[in-house]
Amino acid sequence: MPKIKVPRSNPSLDMTPMVDLAFLLVTFFMLTASFRTEEAIVVDAPKSVSDEMLPDNAMMVTMDTAGRAFYTIDGEEIKKNTLMQMGEKYSVTFSEDEIKEFQLMKDFGHPFSELKTYLNATKNERTKMDKNAPGIPMDSLNNELGDWITFGKISAYGESQTKGTDFSNFRYSIKADARTDFRVMRKLFNAFEKSNIHTFDLVTNLEQE
């Protein structure tokens, strides 16, 4: 009896469409990816139904449950001017390198006296310092946060004048932990109040209903 011939099919299959799709997805995710900027502190913001986007051009104070305040402001030139004015008030001078370092830095939560050490620290040391950060003082006796806010506002105003942009686009965001006591928040609002700032953007997470 003759053997039954089994037609041999080619075991390799065409992968082109799959590869095409894979690359399409890679491209999509790469382009939409926005990497989380490194922050000195992570807080759990409250939820809200508001769907307004976080503005880009802003000063931001972050507040954790223990009432430690962290400060940052957008814009390299604004940052530099703010630091210079703070230095003038507290009679501290900063070198070129330190200023550059400050411009590249995200938020920080140290008193002004410790800022120089913080700027000269390495990345690892900074992470450690962030963890034990005492927060920027905002008592009525030593209101450094108030100074940061005031000088930040002045610098942002100066910047908008030289660039001819609308100063009302400059915003003040507050990112606080949902469990923060209002006693702490009131202190923060008072610090802003001193610089005549009454409108805030509270950072929230979107709530699904």
């Binding site: 590869v19 508001s50 928040m185």
Partner: protein, 206 residues
């Protein structure tokens, strides 16, 4: 795999020329595909879609003299937020130790939202009508915003006074302001609980 058909045996001519051995034009794509999938997995896992959002809040400007202070109207609702994270204490009108009844509600849809929607019925219906018009295309986006603001800031609309104490949680305030925004209450202010009110609350809790 993607392959180019370089086979031309069908063209067999008479004179079989001696050919240099052709190396295969097929490229092994496996490593590339591996890499592609690796990247794909990485970006899928690190992708963060929900960017943080913001909610605008206006704090009252401290009045410099008595004239600037706004009077509390009779139809205002005062909401007292305490360290009790589930409840809202509230009363209507001006505080009067003898007459005022402090009631209790919560943050649910049946609680504070129902209360606010009922108290602010006129504005809510008007805003709803405006939104209907906007959906039909009768009014533009900016007009809607302007008209909404006008309706919300009318003299006789509901005003809400939110009072807090030291231990009130930030979350509660954001939640309440959220509810106020949902219920189209534009006139609200944030202040501190007075001693009288505090005493009243302590009595209530007992």
């Amino acid at each position: 795999m993607a392959e180019l058909n370089t086979d031309d045996s069908s063209k067999g001519g008479k004179h079989q020329k001696k050919r240099a051995k052709k190396s295969s034009t097929k490229v092994d794509m496996t490593p590339m595909v591996d890499l592609a999938f690796l990247l794909l997995t990485f970006f899928v896992l690190t992708a963060t879609f929900g960017k943080p959002k913001t909610m605008q809040l206006n704090m009252p400007v401290k009045a410099k003299n008595e004239d600037q202070k706004q009077k509390v109207s009779d139809n205002a609702i005062t909401m007292l937020l305490t360290d009790n994270i589930d409840s809202i204490y509230y009363y209507n009108g001006i505080y009067d130790p003898a007459k005022t009844v402090i009631r209790i509600t919560n943050y649910s849809k049946e609680g504070v939202r129902k209360l606010l929607l009922e108290s602010n019925k006129d504005v809510v219906t008007k805003v709803h009508e405006l939104e209907e018009q906007y959906k039909k295309g009768a009014i533009a986006d900016s007009t809607l915003k302007k008209l909404k603001e006008k309706v919300q800031s009318d003299v006789n609309t509901l005003a809400v006074i939110v009072k807090t104490e030291d231990k009130t949680k930030y979350k509660n305030i954001v939640d309440l302001v959220d509810e106020l925004n949902i219920c189209d209450v534009a006139k609200f202010s944030i202040g501190d609980i007075s001693t009288q009110e505090q005493n009243h609350l302590t009595k209530l809790k007992l």
